[in-house]
């Protein structure tokens, strides 16, 4: 609940900022370069005189967009692969799970970098790369739940009455894995924000002039900004951590609500 109380205002602010904040994230004001916070610019302005607050809000929109879309894609792919692996027999299961093993061998960040070097930069490729990276964990959880479920009487009965794979998946599989899906999806948004920020921080994700929390932090890789203008990277950093913490709180709460003993790690 505490998580939601933090999350909802952030969400509202990023979605509606054009209505109440006078500055545009890409407007350049050469008379206000690297200024500190003032009544006009609450968080100051950056190296080419853009308003940090406006960039922060627009960046939040980008980051949350990337995180939510990639969450949706990886949930759908993860569920489908896990469900098919769990219900469709050993051969499919074996192949799918070896693929998942393989995808999990590589350290996530390395995999991310390699994929990003192939897919290119920008919002679209970043979503693609994060989705590609994230589904294996979910599909493994869905699979193990369904393997258990497959032996249960009501599934065996349904199968005996001639139910097809499609019917089994959506009438029995989906309702019985919904708790995994909801918790995974929530935590995946937090993960997506972190991955986007990391990727953009290294310069392979969302690239300027498009604002995102990650590439605002990227400016701190220059010693000048890091030393002299800490506000320019501390604000996005702080908002990033607060958002991720809030989402994790919500996710933990949901997990406890569904099943106090559930193991999701």
């Amino acid at each position: 609940m505490a998580g939601l109380a933090i999350l909802v205002p952030i969400l509202l602010a990023t979605v509606t900022y054009e209505l109440w904040w006078p500055y545009n994230p890409n407007d350049i004001d050469l008379l206000a370069i690297n200024k500190g916070p003032s009544p006009e610019h609450w968080m100051g302005s950056d190296g080419v005189g853009r308003d940090v607050m406006a960039r922060l809000l627009q960046g939040g929109r980008t980051s949350l967009l990337v995180a939510s879309v990639s969450m949706a894609i990886s949930t759908i792919v993860g569920f489908s692969v896990g469900a098919v692996a769990g219900f469709a027999g050993r051969l499919v299961d074996g192949t799918a799970m070896r693929l998942v093993d393989l995808a999990m061998t590589l350290p996530p960040v390395i995999f991310l970098l390699v994929l990003a070097s192939i897919a290119g930069t920008g919002v679209g490729p970043t979503i693609l790369v994060i989705s590609l990276l994230s589904w294996p964990v979910l599909s493994r959880m869905v699979r193990s739940r369904l393997l258990e479920l497959r032996e249960r009487d009501f599934v065996v009965a349904s199968r005996g009455m001639g139910a097809g794979l499609w019917h089994l998946l959506f009438r029995h599989g989906l309702p019985n894995t919904i708790d995994i899906l909801v918790v995974y999806a929530t935590l995946q948004v937090a993960g997506g924000i972190l991955l986007e920020a990391g990727l953009s921080f290294l310069g392979s994700g969302v690239t300027p002039p498009e604002a995102s929390w990650g590439n605002m932090l990227n400016s701190a890789r220059s010693v000048l900004v890091l030393e002299n203008y800490p506000r320019q990277w501390m604000f996005p950093g702080a908002v990033l951590v607060i958002t991720v913490l809030a989402i994790n709180f919500v996710g933990d709460g949901l997990r406890d609500a569904f099943d106090p003993r559930a193991e999701l790690n």
Binding site: L102, L106, V109, V114, A116, L202, R221, L240
Partner: protein
């Protein structure tokens, strides 16, 4: 045990082979002409020369044939030439970066293990007391904050503001090599690298120790009049450490990921920095070689963890 070891090793080798296939496919998906990996960019070549070279290298052959040719070359240590850096061969370039990365990661891991296990024990022993609650909150923040952010903050506080440690690099340029100099450069990045990992280990250690402390044999030990300190160290800790060992092994990939950010922020001359530069310049031969080596390391570490675990816990072999 022998059979188990052999089976795990075989699986590991198969994974490595599959990894080479994956990398080969990714290399082909990458934009650009694969021949770039073989030519020395500082030597100009005409289009007809390129065709001759392509035929000689077998790049006009079907993909499976090419794959096995590449695999053979890789086994002999030939990974092609770097596109940047005036066309140096890739393998020595990557190998020269492994040492610093291992140094950074091992020191970070040692700090994380010591810190994580110690705080985990304190937290479990002082369950639900202020110490435990504040440690748990710190761990939660540690897990939620990304490595690059803690690293930036650490760099700003300790190197820029307080000037306790040098802000980057591995050795002072120009100065003769000394161990103290290396250590001074190592402390800050290694401790920052360990934060996330330490938080994770601490959470596992805490829950695992709490579970063990409610077991019958712990109650028996207490009933016999064993002192609380020895109950925890001798009876509970040994059993509680098992899941933590697996965790450490299985999160080695995360540690490598964290190391990449730390290296980029602290200009640490390791694999991560090499990789980031290679990615921003689309230097695919270097990216692929580094990826393959990293993947091989992860597979090896997982293999060793599995075996260490089997050696400690005989029940594993049955499963």
């Amino acid at each position: 045990m022998l059979q188990y070891t052999l089976r795990r090793t075989a699986v590991g080798l198969l994974m490595l082979l599959a990894l080479t296939v994956l990398i080969f496919i990714m290399l082909r998906l990458a934009p650009g002409d694969p021949i770039d990996a073989y030519i020395n960019p500082s030597v100009p070549m005409s289009a007809s020369d390129l065709d001759v070279l392509r035929a000689r290298l077998g790049l006009d052959q079907p993909l499976p044939v090419q794959y096995f040719a590449r695999l053979g070359a890789a086994l002999r240590g030939d990974f092609g030439y770097s596109i940047q850096r005036g066309g140096d061969p890739v393998l020595p370039l990557v190998l020269s970066r492994i040492g610093p990365t291992i140094l950074l990661m091992v020191s970070g891991l040692v700090i994380a293990i010591v810190l994580g296990i110690a705080t985990g024990i304190i937290s479990a022993v002082r369950r639900n007391q202020p110490t435990d609650i504040s440690l748990s909150i710190m761990a939660f923040v540690g897990i939620s904050s990304p490595a690059f952010l803690t690293a930036l903050l650490g760099l700003y506080i300790f190197a820029v503001t307080l000037r306790w440690a040098p802000a980057g690099g591995m050795l002072t340029p120009g100065a003769p090599f000394s161990f103290a100099d290396l250590l001074a450069h190592l402390v800050l990045p290694a401790s920052l690298l360990s934060i996330g990992h330490a938080a994770l280990i601490m959470r596992y250690m805490r829950s695992s120790l709490l579970e063990v402390l409610s077991q019958d044999y712990v109650r028996t030990a207490r009933a016999k009049g064993v002192r609380e300190f020895w109950v925890i160290v001798k009876h509970a800790l040994r059993n509680a450490l098992l899941p933590v060992i697996t965790l450490i092994g299985s999160t080695i990939g995360i540690a490598i990921g964290g190391a990449i950010f730390i290296e980029s922020i602290f200009d640490w001359p390791g694999m991560g920095l090499l990789m980031i530069n290679a990615v921003s310049r689309r230097d695919y031969p270097v990216i692929m070689c580094a990826t393959l080596l990293t993947g091989a390391c992860v597979i090896l570490v997982n293999l060793l963890t599995d075996m260490a675990y089997a050696a400690v816990d005989p029940r594993i072999k049955v499963a």
